[in-house]
Symmetry: C2
Subunit: 269 residues, 2 copies
Amino acid sequence: MKVAIQGEAGSFSHEAAKRMVQGCTIVPCARSAEVFDRVERGSVSAAVIPIENSLAGSVAEHFDLLLARNVFIRQEYRLRIVHNLIAPPGVRMGDIRRVYSHPVALDQCRDFFRKHPGIEATPFYDTAGGVKHVIESGLRDAAGIAGRQAAAVYKGRTLAAGIEDDKRNFTRFFLIRKGRHIVPDANKTSIAFTVRNVPGALFKALSVFALREISLAKIESRPMRGRPWEYVFYADLLCGDDKVARNALRHLAESASLVKVLGVYLAAR
Amino acid sequence: MKVAIQGEAGSFSHEAAKRMVQGCTIVPCARSAEVFDRVERGSVSAAVIPIENSLAGSVAEHFDLLLARNVFIRQEYRLRIVHNLIAPPGVRMGDIRRVYSHPVALDQCRDFFRKHPGIEATPFYDTAGGVKHVIESGLRDAAGIAGRQAAAVYKGRTLAAGIEDDKRNFTRFFLIRKGRHIVPDANKTSIAFTVRNVPGALFKALSVFALREISLAKIESRPMRGRPWEYVFYADLLCGDDKVARNALRHLAESASLVKVLGVYLAAR
């Protein structure tokens, strides 16, 4: 089964995809729009996309694409983000002068750099891309910081594992496919909706869930693409595809100008 | 007046700061936490921070810092993001083979790269940093994409202005200072609050505004730092510091476990 991801092979998306779909073949794409294109066209069976990190927040572009494109969320997965120091084979800790990684990852490993003042943190546009860069360029005084999958893909050596400061660092991933399909024990629903720009409009919209005792796990407003400062709301509801949930969504559609069900799936534990 | 920004001199934060505080002296800081440290310590009078981009979404880290730190939002500003191609002096359009910029900026200038297939888009960790890099390294076949301020700061030549695909690209900035101060015509209030994890809790919280016909301009839930998947809500209310607004916030505090007023200020037009 072919699964598209955004970014380089060896990234955290790669790691999440391997765990969500055993034995899948990864198709790395430079841009997120391309990931969604491939799913819609059918040149891959599915895609795995990060949607939210517990420290860094939402991946805004993926919310926009879930709204705009003809795809459906089929699975949710929560990956613990473990950062490793990965060097070219033969390079030892004492040789390292520079470490390449994405600025967010470098910032999440500040203790490591405090303990190794002779090593310079060098911002790079991607975590796995940093490992690829040091290994393919044959650097003898450099390493990258990335997930374990990057060491496997680029045949690097992990010199230090789990060097992130905060162990409570998780990223939520969605597996998306083209067709709408709901597993029988689905218990979580992601929706997008817009409301009229009048006082109390969101309050009224949320009443359809409160009246039916459906919990909101998350809500977020995002500016609508091309209409600065008009907002679309993204919400996660703790309900599956039962009669009460369907009534609530029908009720919501009476006052909301747009309601899209992005997926109904089993909540990650 | 000294104003701290995150990132290199010449960035969009630099541009916003110059427009918000005429004649200010910019203090660039590598990390956002350092920007807030400086404001709290008083080693700068103020800081200017991006909070939300109409295409790329919220700056999650700045929401977290507004909640955690002893600072107050004093002004809001909306900057149109204009991307320019900036080259070292003497380098002409025909010489350019690579263009360095932040991946988000490169992605916002796709038409430019389609029209110039001989020029390679090269991801860099920062927009202004890319311009600094090509000029300070003396590259003769490269340029950067950044705001106009970067050309001024690094003495680059703007070879093409306004090369962003979507002109409806804005970033909201806040000016933050240490003391709580509210201008008389303030008409917008930013708050953070948490609610109990029970069905309808957010609905109840929002009722305090709906009952008083106070509009929500924006709402967003963010995972709480260190407590994955527990959420804090950030909301912008269209109200100033009057009796009705104070009653609403008092009413909110009855059911919310935490309410923090992040600032009361004049809304940007």
